[in-house]
């Protein structure tokens, strides 16, 4: 079973996302801020991480940097959940090693297609 970590400070969105993923058969963990997310990533070693950018206590970029520079977590693909209207944020994220991004507002369709794409890439397909 694939493990997914969701880091998102908005509780409604976080819970909804978790629910959708769980219903599709993923094992899902969630964190309400960046610091918790980093700790959980190290602990659970998820197959994929969905991470909001704009968050209190370590934003998405901090989380990404921390995960990518740590050998335990550097191989985990990270997908940004971005609300930013600016392309520059997305580009900056990809430049820092993010594996993909999903633009808010998103529904289950966008969520799954990006996750599947990312997993395929990781598996070298």
């Amino acid at each position: 079973m694939k493990i997914i970590l969701v880091i998102e400070d908005n509780s409604n969105l976080r819970e909804n996302t978790c629910e959708i993923l769980e219903l599709s058969g993923y094992e899902v963990y969630s964190a309400v801020n960046g610091m918790d997310g980093i700790a959980l990533a190290k602990e659970k070693k998820p197959h994929i991480i969905l991470c909001d950018i704009m968050m209190p206590e370590a934003d998405g970029f901090v989380v990404l940097k921390e995960l990518k520079t740590n050998s335990e977590t550097s191989d985990i693909p990270v997908i940004f959940l971005t609300a930013s209207a600016e392309k520059s944020d997305v580009i900056a994220g990809l430049g820092m090693g993010a594996n993909g991004y999903i633009r808010k507002p998103f529904g289950p369709g966008e969520l799954f297609s990006e996750i599947e794409l990312c997993l395929k890439e990781v598996n070298g397909e």
Binding site: D9, N12, L13, N16, M55, A83, K104, P105, G107
Partner: protein, 691 residues
Amino acid sequence: MASALIIAHQELAQLKKENGRRAAEFIIAARELVFQKGEKVKRASELVIVNRELIFQKKEKGKRVLELLNANKALTLLNVQTEKRAAELLIAINELSFQNEEKGKRAAELIIANQEHAYQNKEKEKRADELRVANKELAIQNAENEKRTDELTFVNEKFIKSEAALNKLNEVLEEIVIERTSALQESVKETIKANQDKESVLNRISDGVVSLDNEWRYTFLNNAALATHPVSKEATLGMVIWDVYPDLHETIFWEKYHEAMLSKKVVEIESYYTPMNIWLSVKIYPSSDGLTIFSKDITKRKIADQKLEQSLREVSDYKYALEECCMVAITNQKGIIQYVNANFCEISKYKYEELVGQNHRIINSGYHSKEFIRNLWTTISNGKIWRGEIKNKAKDETMYWVSTTIVPFLNEDGKPYKYLALRSDITMRKQAEERILKMNEELEDKVTARTLELTESLVKEKVLNEMKSRFVSLASHEFRTPLSTILSSVSLIDSYSHENQKASRIKHIERIRSSVKDLTGILEDFLSLDKLELGKTEITPEVFDLNEFSHDIIEEVNFMLKKGQHIQYTYSGEKELLQDKKILKNVFLNLLSNATKYSGENQVICLSIELANSIVSIRVKDEGIGIPEEEQKNMFQKFYRGKNAIHIQGTGLGLTIVKKYVELLKGTITFQSTFNLGTVFTVEFPQNILS
């Protein structure tokens, strides 16, 4: 045993001795070794010295070799030079021997010459002897001659006496003849001279002179007249003038000649003579013999006259033009006005009589610098023309500008004796120039001011733009996150289609509602700001209990608190007030939600209210992230968010709205904050908004 001992002893002693000897030998050997070592060291040091010396010598040798090489070079050079010298010497020697030979030849020649000389001397002596003999002979002959001479002299004397008498007679006769002859010659000369004088004078003058007899025949014409006549002098003399000049017939000349001939009065005419294309001045002197006519070609003079006339006319035209369009003034060398024209009077507003005799200074405006005036005077008093623009003063104290040219008139010494000043009125132009200058200055001022304004507004705009772009990214986050929730909730509701999944459906409907509420809240922030800014927010005062009101608010805020956060509440003073409840609620909610949003978990938020002296004081204190000092001044600006708050949800509108609301309540808002330690907001407003 004893013996054995003794033997052993002896052996021992023997051994000891041996040992002693050996030891001594060792010592000696050791000393020798030491000595040899010492020697070696010495040798070594000697070798070192020797080595150094060798090195030194080598170097010396090197030097010597170099020196030798140099010496060799020098020698070679010397040899070459020596050879050259030798060659030169050989040549010199050859020359010398040649010269010697020459000398020898000369010596031989001299000897021969000497011999010849000696021979000649001898010859001379011989001759001298011969001469002496001849002299003696001569002396004898002389004596004889003298005798003869005496005889002859006597005869001669007689002859001379008779001849002298004859000569005297001759002389007297000759004198008489000469006297007669010279008298005759004189009278002839005088006659000739008189005739010649007359003709030559007439010939020499440039006028044509012609004499006619009473029958119009030529009796005389001089060279000048001849030049214009078609045939030779001899052919002309005796001819009738009308035959020589048929063209004269019926001309003015013809008339006048006849007039003079008839009236016997002198007639003068000056007329153009068409056949010859010349102007002639003719004087006709009648006499009893006929006429003598003096004629002169005055064409040149006539042309000059015409030209002069033309120039005079032009000058008078110029003068007229000048007088018409210029201000003309003439002063003497001291600047006393001698003449002004009508234009001058008109523009300077003085009368002619008021100006003439006055110093030119009368029209000075005092506008120009002393240096400017001095330069003008230096220029013209040095005989040079001055040109420039001058501001002058009219009689009525008004100013006028003139473009001026001052021309000095110079006497024989080159010194100016009067000045002619020509001016034209350029006041209009000058005024226009001044206006333009002024307008330019004004324009420049305006441009500067406008630039300043623009720069300021540009800075403002830039700040506003920055804030806007910040707002766009914030707002987009604030909007997109609840929208995402709605989208996912909707799709989840879709999947919970079974009857027994109603609870889940309701949960998601609730989430959708909550997200929509979030969105509405943000929208309301915008709308209320817009309304506030347009001044459309209306106050509806009502009486209420502030303490109760606060409790309600706290209850509402408790739902928003983070884990472990709680609100510490105190209240003192009266409770009733007359204020706009809705606006006050907004203020409370905003400040309290900020306090929880910018504080961490487990931190305390204090709300203390005090109502005293009809003034309500509300303090909201948190222990949160605080506001950096450098950003505190911007906190009430639209869309502004502290650097440390960028990643916390918010629109940057809350405090802007709060401030406007507080102002509507006729109150004030201030805050004190320390970075990372927390913030205290203080709001004060009157108990009765209508008071």
